[in-house]
Symmetry: C2
């Protein structure tokens, strides 16, 4: 296997070059040229020479090699690799990486794993085209667990679900699993977003259902807009009026919630908003844009 290329993070855009050369045991690699799409990142290109054997030893530039050497590979040469959505924080999937899988992920910026059942490398998306575009790679304190922090091109699970985690143990124990309603593992912001979406659906499917504040807001744009304006004012007041921290957290929660109802009406997800923020910040964008606008 031979990998050569360069990569950079825009927030600290010094390019890093490296090369992975094929070992003598596999003198006739099949050469493939790859070019990678990396939204939010400087273009990355790499030339990968795949050896015919899957266990090709690799020779790497020293820093790159040191990183791979420092991972505490288990007795089978593997470490846990977790793919996480950089914008939402959703855990997309978990697999295992061997040395080559980690090397390929770092160089290609596509989340790559070692398939224990097929005894081979596989890049998530090579069949579905739903690649996970890796923006950062983290090792844990024990150096035996890896996070691929990236942006998925589409649903990660082979079932078509956004992530592979949609079976709640407590739902099963409480019997609500019988409704056949799958529920993705969501953190607070995205649970709230899902609740707002559910209220919107209920307006259509259960017009005489339980009333709720969210439904009222969804049905009354004037009320919603006045609430967003009012909550922004109340948040500001906590600063100007030197109110306590709890009050600030509470008013920010109100502003966030009401703004998210507005996003729902516009069919905009929090993930899209965060993507805007990420792209701006990786280009020092928010600061620059506003600086430009105001000065």
């Amino acid at each position: 296997m031979e990998v050569s290329g360069s990569f950079s993070r825009l927030s600290s855009p010094r390019p890093v070059s490296f090369s992975v050369t094929n070992c003598a045991k596999h003198p006739n690699p099949t050469k493939t040229n790859l070019s990678f799409r990396n939204s939010g990142y400087a273009p990355v290109s790499a030339s990968v020479e795949r050896s015919s054997g899957s266990n090709a030893a690799v020779h790497l530039d020293s820093k790159f090699e040191t990183i791979l050497d420092n991972v505490k590979w288990d007795s089978k040469g593997l470490a846990v690799a977790i793919a996480q959505n950089i914008d939402t924080g959703s855990i997309l999937m978990q697999g295992f990486a061997n040395r080559d899988a980690l090397a390929k992920t770092i160089s290609s910026r596509k989340a790559t794993f070692y398939s224990r059942s097929r005894s081979s490398l596989w890049t998530k998306g090579e069949t579905s085209m739903n690649f996970i575009n890796v923006h950062d790679v983290f090792l844990d304190c024990d150096r035996d667990s890896i996070i691929y922090l990236g942006k998925p091109d589409g649903p990660t699970c082979h079932t078509g679900a956004e992530t592979c985690y949609y079976t709640s143990v407590y739902d099963i124990l409480e019997g609500s699993k019988e409704d056949k309603e799958e529920r993705l593992a969501k953190t607070t912001l995205y649970s709230l977003e899902a609740t707002i979406s559910k209220r919107k659906e209920e307006i259509e499917t259960l017009p005489n259902g339980k009333p709720s504040w969210t439904k009222k807001l969804l049905l009354n744009q004037e009320l919603l807009c006045s609430k967003v304006r009012e909550e922004a004012g109340e948040l500001i007041q906590t600063l100007l009026g030197n109110e306590d921290k709890d009050r600030t957290a509470s008013e920010m929660a109100d502003l966030l919630y009401h703004s998210m109802v507005l996003l729902n009406l516009k069919d905009v997800s929090m993930e899209e908003v965060l993507e805007v923020l990420r792209k701006r910040f990786s280009q020092s964008g928010v600061e620059e844009k506003n600086s430009r606008k105001k000065n």
Copy 2:
């Protein structure tokens, strides 16, 4: 091992009872009574009888047993268990669970793992008191990977870091690791929050440093407040003026960023804001509070 108790999610508060009885092989368990703090959840209590042996077979209520049976334990009886912060989405740590560790996590709602080095169960926090209070448990599509979605009482890593993931491979490759500055694996919202904090620090440590829009806002409350108000108005305008989705995402990004600068001045974290939202929503709180306020 004998575990009995009940648990419920407030959003669907039907209690679920179960019992785990000790097998005949271990007739003299040591009884411990535990009571658990579960912020955002109905109180959970469980009586756990620990057998003197660590490999006690367990007899469980049928649903509970079915869940444990359905996990695809590996040849060593283990599955990957990932602890994730329910509010921020941060991956706190990754360990392994065996059948007993998963059973104990589900019943006690404290993230519990199987230590491969010590060949015993360990509940994160049993020494440091920094428990991870589990709100939900998810299995992946292959049923060999588990998420403990919970709220940590304090830093998770034994080093005192918030999470165990603070070593970026790209930082090492780019040489910025030489600064000895550790960087936690953060998703977009929390990277932005960290950037704003950094600007605040720079105002004090580098008063003649590079100017930035964030610093300007941090130093001028009047400007900041007018910006928060203005961005709220522009977000509203995208709805009233039927502007396109991209415009909405962009204005929401602006509102979020400026509000977060205000949060920084009040020393309030996004995690605190999200905790407020979670607690309200798990009590149908936002809807009820606002409904009360307005009707």
